[in-house]
Amino acid sequence: MAQTIIRIQTKLMKEYYQYFSKYAKGGRPEGKVAWITAFAPVEILEALGISCYYPESYAAVIAASSMEQSLLSKSEELNLSRDCCSYSCCIQGCLELEEGPRGVPPKPDMLIATNNQCNTLPNWWNILAHRYKVPLIVIDYPGDGADRRTAYHYVTAQHRNLITELERLTGNKLHMDRLAELVENSRNSVKAWKSVIRHMKDKEVIPTGLFDDINFLITARCRRETSEMYTMLEEELSRRPLANQELLPVFWLGYPLWYHADRYLSSILEGCRVSGSNYITWWNIDYAGEDLFECLFNAYNDTFLNLSQKTRNERLGRLIRESGAKAAVTLRNKSCKCDFVSARNIDIPQVEIDMDMIDRTILDEKAARDRISLVRETICTG
């Protein structure tokens, strides 16, 4: 079973990276290439035969390969402040130096950015558009603060315009049954992933694997193999022994540390186990609706970082309760202030740690260790 999971993952990764410069030998995908942000309506692009690449995801790979520092420095040399999102600084450095663990992605024919995660990503995509001189389409998702009906019409108009524009750029025609098939695949991938992550609470599941495995939900969501692979993974996790109840359950509130071998502070969470994480729920997007446009609206307008504080409080509160966590490790990510405010109203003791998901120099590990010890003592003696 484990072999089959690995075989599917290897196949998906091989297909994704085959046209990166390290492997491509000058070759390019057959159809058009788009660089897209992590919450773009990928189903529309895939339905039009467009190959999609995710620069944010590659930045995580770069950090995992310990190559980020020189790229961050190069980006700063080019006048992009290091205060900006490290995903962007890392990739800008990579593009300038043409260096990365797998080279650089194939040049884009178009760029698609959304603001349902943050407003920084469209800014970054603008400088990519300036670099590559290709069309940039920014899709605006108002979130749950706007009037629902107005927001639906606005987003749907943008989705329709996106289709029209992409048909023009590719010369292909969108077939709605193909789109429906891809949306169904995505729905199944999300459903399968939800089953996987529910084991985090009770079973001996370390977050490392989940932080890495969610990559397929991000970059291969509408592939049928993704839900198949997650279903197998769920079966495997269901056979794991129960988690050691002596360990203090903590909630990992924030991004993984992509540069860390374990993706989280494993060495300083002694006596603890991570029983929940909000990051691994972000792509549990809800494709509910009576027609495809409604499904896409609900999925992409209501992403977690696009929700009001009130809604986030409710969702996060529920996640934490379900995880059984007694404390939270809350990450003040230098690159993402939008996520940090999510933790403003949680009821359990928190350890706040300054870090960055890409730049390993931000974290003060000793200070983090001291704070975690303090909270652990407080809970255990309280």
Binding site: S73, E76, N79, T361, D364
Partner: protein, 243 residues
């Protein structure tokens, strides 16, 4: 007729007396007084003077007020004409300038925390009870590195090192190293293939140039009158005999 250049810095005021023929007659330093205006009003200007630095407006007898970076460009070209990039680590901030034959062309200022400035070292030396003049970076053996960019957190780290009985001179060395590390981001913005001329009070520390070579990974030069270059530039900005 002599000319006087006065660089009123946050910690020290530097003076340069230049002769008619642009020869340096004298350079000297004194601590910048708290009541600057009162102090300078009590002085009489015997020669034409120009002032620069944060407190330049407090020198009433100065005929001319010069921008500190413009003065640094002039002065550094006078002192070391073959190098056109200058790194100045001052009390309040760190700056890098590029000039062409003494004319300022470009500059960058470190807008990060005070952990990148001379004041951080002064405060640390006070904590460690080390005299600035006794500092020697040449006999430091350990390779301690401070990890925080922020002065407040870096100070906490220092307290921890003291509690761990790390030798005071090693801690002081780590702070100097840290200040140099913070200036690396500025260096990336300029072309320093001909080397960097170092400026500011830290150039007086024994072993500073070698540490800078190592941390900045570039050829570093400390010229004569290293802490007086802005004052020299100020004096040069005044008309000379033939003018």
């Amino acid at each position: 007729m002599y000319r006087l250049g006065i660089d009123v810095g946050s910690t020290y005021t530097k003076y340069c007396v230049l002769s008619c023929r642009n020869k340096i007659e004298d350079c000297f330093t004194e601590r910048t007084p708290i009541r600057q205006r009162e102090y300078f009003e009590g002085k009489k200007g015997d020669f034409p003077s120009a002032s620069c630095g944060y407190g330049k407006a407090n020198v009433p007898f100065a005929k001319k007020s010069v921008n500190e970076l413009t003065a640094l460009a002039k002065g550094s070209h006078y002192v070391c004409p073959e190098v056109s990039v200058v790194l100045d680590i001052g009390g309040q901030d760190t700056k890098i300038i590029c000039h062409e034959n003494g004319t300022l062309k470009n500059f960058y200022i470190n807008d990060r925390c005070a952990a990148g400035s001379g004041m951080f070292l002064i405060n640390t030396l006070r904590m460690l009870e080390i005299d600035f003049d006794d500092m020697d970076l040449q006999d430091i053996r350990s390779e301690i590195r401070l990890s925080s960019a922020c002065a407040v957190f870096a100070q906490t780290e220092i307290v921890g090192l003291i509690a761990a009985n790390v030798p005071a001179k090693d801690i002081a060395g780590a702070v100097v190293g840290h200040i140099l590390q913070q200036s690396r981001s500025l260096l990336r913005k300029v072309n320093a293939e001909n080397g960097i001329l170092l400026s500011g009070g830290l150039t007086q520390i024994r072993g500073f140039r070698e540490m800078a070579d190592r941390i900045l990974e570039t050829r570093c030069i400390i010229g004569p009158y290293a802490r007086y270059m802005s004052a020299i530039g100020c004096a040069l900005s005044l008309p000379s005999c033939g003018d």
